[in-house]
């Protein structure tokens, strides 16, 4: 029985490695038989190292990543301020909520990508439209989570604050907002991965730099290796961003398990 268990455990440890190996072998087989359609793993690696040193459209791979990240970053500063403020207003002030929330509710169902044509008409094709798209794409989760966080606060905490003599302003800034930080951070997490997707989409439609631009360039020149390098890059950056936010979450809400 124990031996059986041990054998199983060993099997489970190696299974992920086996599955990766299978994928790589399968890939190599397919690319060996259709070299024009699917580049080999070596080709992809070579494309990647080439892109690291040789600029394409004025920037190396790191330059393009930085261009995209900068857009997300700028939009995010705005999203965090405006989004949290809106969410707090929705959650705390009855009149503001009843007046403005219905409009927000109508707009929030329009996917951010559907804003791209209109935003390009408004802001042209410079940096501003991409930042605006990221802003639109990432503000909804921040507002919704802040709103839900404030609304669902344990009544007990509010009452306790009141009993201890807090005024309304103190209740908001010293009780309600701190209590909803976990929810707000969860919203920011969703928003960041949404924002990263939006920047890629916006760059795919109009841009001269950024990973979204790079991937479309790959498509236009039939450079499949470049496309795959970009896809992997986009995935890796996305994972790193969520790792970073997980860290921030742990540091900023140490009382949560």
């Amino acid at each position: 029985m124990t031996q059986q268990f041990k054998a199983n455990n060993n099997l489970y440890r190696f299974l992920p490695i086996i599955s990766f190996a299978l994928v790589l072998i399968l890939w190599s087989l397919v690319s060996f038989n259709n070299p024009n359609l699917i580049p080999s793993l070596l080709d992809i690696w070579n494309r990647f190292t080439l892109l690291l040193v040789e600029p394409l459209s004025g920037a190396t791979l790191t330059g393009h990543i930085w261009a995209s990240l900068l857009r997300v970053l700028i939009a995010f500063v705005l999203v965090i301020f405006i989004g949290i403020a809106l969410g707090v207003l929705f959650g705390w002030y009855f009149t503001f909520n009843s007046l403005v929330y219905p409009v927000f509710e109508i707009l929030r169902f329009i996917p951010p990508i559907a804003w791209i044509p209109l935003v390009i008409l408004w802001l042209g094709i410079g940096e501003a439209p991409k930042i605006a798209i990221v802003f639109i794409g990432s503000i909804t989760p921040v507002v919704m989570n802040t709103y839900a966080g404030i609304k669902n606060i344990d009544k007990l905490i509010i009452d306790a604050g009141r009993v201890l003599g807090a005024d309304r302003r103190q209740l908001l800034f010293e009780v309600a907002i701190p209590a909803s930080i976990p929810q707000i951070i969860a919203g920011i997490k969703t928003a960041l991965s949404g924002g990263w997707m939006c920047v890629v989409a916006a760059e795919m439609i109009v841009a001269r730099q950024g990973v979204g631009f790079l991937i479309v360039r790959g498509q236009e020149s039939g450079d499949t290796a470049l496309i795959i390098v970009c896809m992997i890059t986009i995935g890796v950056v996305n994972s790193l961003l969520s790792l970073l936010l997980n860290k921030i979450e742990k540091v900023s809400t140490p009382w949560r398990i």
Binding site: I18, I110, P117, A201, G235, S242
Partner: protein, 260 residues
Amino acid sequence: MIGKNRRTKIILGIIGIISFLLIWQFVVDFEIVSSRTLASPIEVYQAFVVKLSEKAPDGATLGQHTLASLKLALTGFVVAIIVGVPLGLVMGYYKFADKLIMPIFELLRPIPAIAWIPLTILLLGIGFEAKVFLIFLSAFVPCVINSYLGIKLTDPTLINVSKTFGASDWDIFTKICIPSSSNMVFSGVTISLSNAWTTLVAAEMLASTRGLGYMIQLGRTFIRPDIIIVGMLTIGAIGAVIAYGLGMIQDKVAPWREEE
């Protein structure tokens, strides 16, 4: 008291929406924003009525575009459910499948469906299959993840009780784990559908000859903000109907679920 509060809320809401529309109308009327880049609500309404029967300038009426988009989104969505939910359930219950498939899945998951568009176009072209594949990709992930988590979160007490009463492995899987995960599965499906709808717009904007995404993209080319806004509102309205519809179905199917 609550009734009165509710009435105030509704009245204020209507005032809010009306003032939003009025401000929008004024902004266009007084040329604060050029009418070449923003259409007023009245123009949008007129464009909507015209678009219902008129094919110009993008080759199809609003109804035809909507139908094309819905057909695409639903096909990709249904395939994603058929493949994704069973896969997630099996991965959640059988460790072998979990260890074999999960690593690859985790590797592919961070790549948004939009980033798959160029490769898909090169390999599959810009036809129906290509777009269904993209929508499938975006809808597939939440189906798998939620089904997987649903199984993993099954109350161990339930499993132990059924083991004590001599249930087989298969019985536990089908009669305990799957029913208890149904809520998670359902919310996964809900997320899938809204993902599918977003990806659809992107796919149609980059590669299509029909559909709502194509319509707004052409609206930009022709500098017709009224058509763009009609398209955006249609996309939003259908998204909202889908979201509320699924919410209602969920209440019917799983009425025991806890209110959030």
